[in-house]
């Protein structure tokens, strides 16, 4: 759209020789420079290039700073993962091979951590999306105190994982924690459990707590999606005699695909790096039932000084993140959102 705007301006400038506005567009500070006058010839390309050059000081330094820290570090990490770097001292870049990746495949801890990561990623994403969608549908039904309720639902998102992990460790306390107290109170005492010590419930307990923290976010995303659907669609479905449930399933939810996708990307990427919560609750060794790649990476690199091995696990994590965000970026690009 901008391009056509520029083109229009340029053609106007070159068409009417004495039109000052045509020249002014191409100048700095309103003075007509020689180059500007020359480009009046209508070379649309050089015009755009000068615009490109003038915008460089704005976006290039930030891009370089970000690029150095984000992409430079990712590349460096990949190189470190090919060394044998351990303990004190610096990495030896002379001898690069894939031995750390071979070690990974033979390491049962890695296999368990990878499996837990996938379980966490899928279960956490699905549960948070479902809860968020249900709450959004309810909030969207023209209720009172909508703002207050929304504020309450999103509140956990504003808290640090260190804070929420401490809250939930107390909630899950086998004797005095709220979960078991409530279960006993409603006669379901036989379900009471030592949720975060029992290997069979540990991961589920973590997923539940993270769902508590993130479903409000899903609600916000879905609510925006629901509000974007024209209200006559709700009406039409109702007149057709579709029951409310069927209406949502057939008409509304399919239109929330974009919301689902963007929320799912955020949730899945978060699940890959969900470190803080587990570290605060369990330390750097959550045990085979709850260990994920993010905690294993930290343990290998920063607790055991197996820097190269940690870097290799980190590269795998980055690869997984790429698998998640690649399709998302592609769709964004196709839709012209970039």
């Amino acid at each position: 759209m901008l391009e056509s705007l520029f083109r229009r301006l340029v053609t106007r400038g070159s068409g009417e020789e004495s039109d000052p506005s045509g020249d002014d567009v191409r100048t700095d500070g309103g003075t007509v420079t020689k180059t500007a006058t020359e480009s009046t010839g209508g070379s649309q390309r050089s015009w755009r290039e000068s615009e490109f050059v003038r915008s460089l000081p704005f976006w290039l330094p930030p891009a370089l700073l970000m690029g150095l820290f984000v992409y430079g570090a990712i590349g460096w990490n990949a190189v470190i993962s090919l060394t044998e770097w351990e303990g004190f001292g610096s990495p030896d870049y002379g001898n690069l091979d894939f031995s750390m990746y071979a070690r990974m495949l033979a390491d049962p801890t890695f296999v368990a951590a990878a499996r837990n990561t996938v379980v966490l990623l899928v279960a956490f994403t699905v549960v948070s999306l479902v809860v968020g969608l249900l709450v959004a549908i309810l909030v969207d039904r023209g209720i009172r105190f909508e703002n207050t309720l929304r504020t309450v639902y999103l509140l956990p998102m504003s808290l640090s994982f260190v804070v929420t992990a401490i809250f939930w460790a107390w909630m899950y306390n086998p004797e005095f924690g709220l979960i078991n107290v409530v279960l006993r109170g409603v006669g379901l005492g036989f379900l009471a459990n030592d949720w975060i010590s029992d290997p069979s419930t540990k991961l589920a307990a973590v997923i539940f707590a993270l769902m508590w923290q993130f479903s409000g976010y899903c609600m916000v995303v879905y609510l925006a999606g629901l509000r974007a659907i024209p209200s006559d669609q709700f009406e039409a479905a109702r007149i057709d005699g579709a029951s409310t449930l069927r209406m949502y399933w057939r008409v509304i939810i399919p239109q929330l695909r974009a919301s689902t996708m963007s929320a799912a990307v955020v949730l899945m990427v978060f699940a890959l790096k969900a470190f803080d919560f587990l570290y605060v609750m369990f330390g750097d060794t959550p045990g085979p039932s709850t260990d994920i790649l993010a905690t294993m990476m930290f343990r290998e690199a920063f607790s055991s000084s197996n820097w190269a091995y940690g870097a290799a696990i980190a590269t795998v994590l980055f690869g997984l993140a790429l698998v998640v965000i690649g399709p998302y970026l592609y769709v964004q690009y196709q839709r012209g959102d970039l």
Partner: protein, 296 residues
Amino acid sequence: MSTDTEGLSVSRVALYAVLVAMALFYLAPLETGLMTAIKTQDAFFSSTPFVPPFGDGFTLQPWYEAWAQMQGPLTDFSGALYNSAFVAIPATVLSGLIGSVAAYGLTNLNWRGQAGVLMLFVAGMFVPYQSVLVPLTRFWTIVGLQNYLAGVPFLAQRVGLIELIVTHTAYGIPICTILFRSYYASFDQSMLEAARIDGATFTRIYQRIIFPLSKPMFAVVLIYQFTQVWNDFLFALVLVSSPTSEVATIALNKLQGSMVQQYNVQMAAAFVAALPTLLVYVLFGDQFAEGVAGET
């Protein structure tokens, strides 16, 4: 007819009941934490967790203890809360400003590589920090910031915190840029065109038009980014080693490890650490929600 409205009101009541139940679900851990934080050790081991304390079960002692561990006297400028503020405020302002400038440079022009550059910014939001941690620590070791700061004791004692400011700024740029860009893209282009025709330069348009109009988005970005930086744990864990440079999240985790059975102090400390973000959230919830939604 009457059954109809009755049916309607019954479903309305059910709707509100579910919504309130959900609200209780989201509030329960906080409410339980708050009640536990004002109970004596005996009281919270003998009472229902979410019930307020009564009689001599009530105490504010956990808060004094938590405050002493998390911050200490307000004159102690190496308290954990001060350290968090020392990192979060500059990092937030810097990444906000840089993001705004970068977004402007990436909005008002049209060249072929733009989508590629933007894609790098968007992907930058989603990079798992684990995949940069090892080089990041290596980078700061090689830079050796303390050598440059030796002449300024106030800063030299806070080397780790300064490293955190730079790191958070760099990793905050992608989200800030994306938020600002979507905002700038919604601007009326004819207004900018008019300014251009009047001979305003690229820089001038930013200073005179874009920046002043950015205020609402600055509120969103600064609030969101402040919360992110304040709540961060991982970068602080690997970059800060000096015990006098602990930020609030690190101090809180340490306290939790050393006061295993004292849940009341743990809960009070959790609230102390969360206080600034809770305050920001209560005051600016709408802006925070917008920032959160902008991540998509």
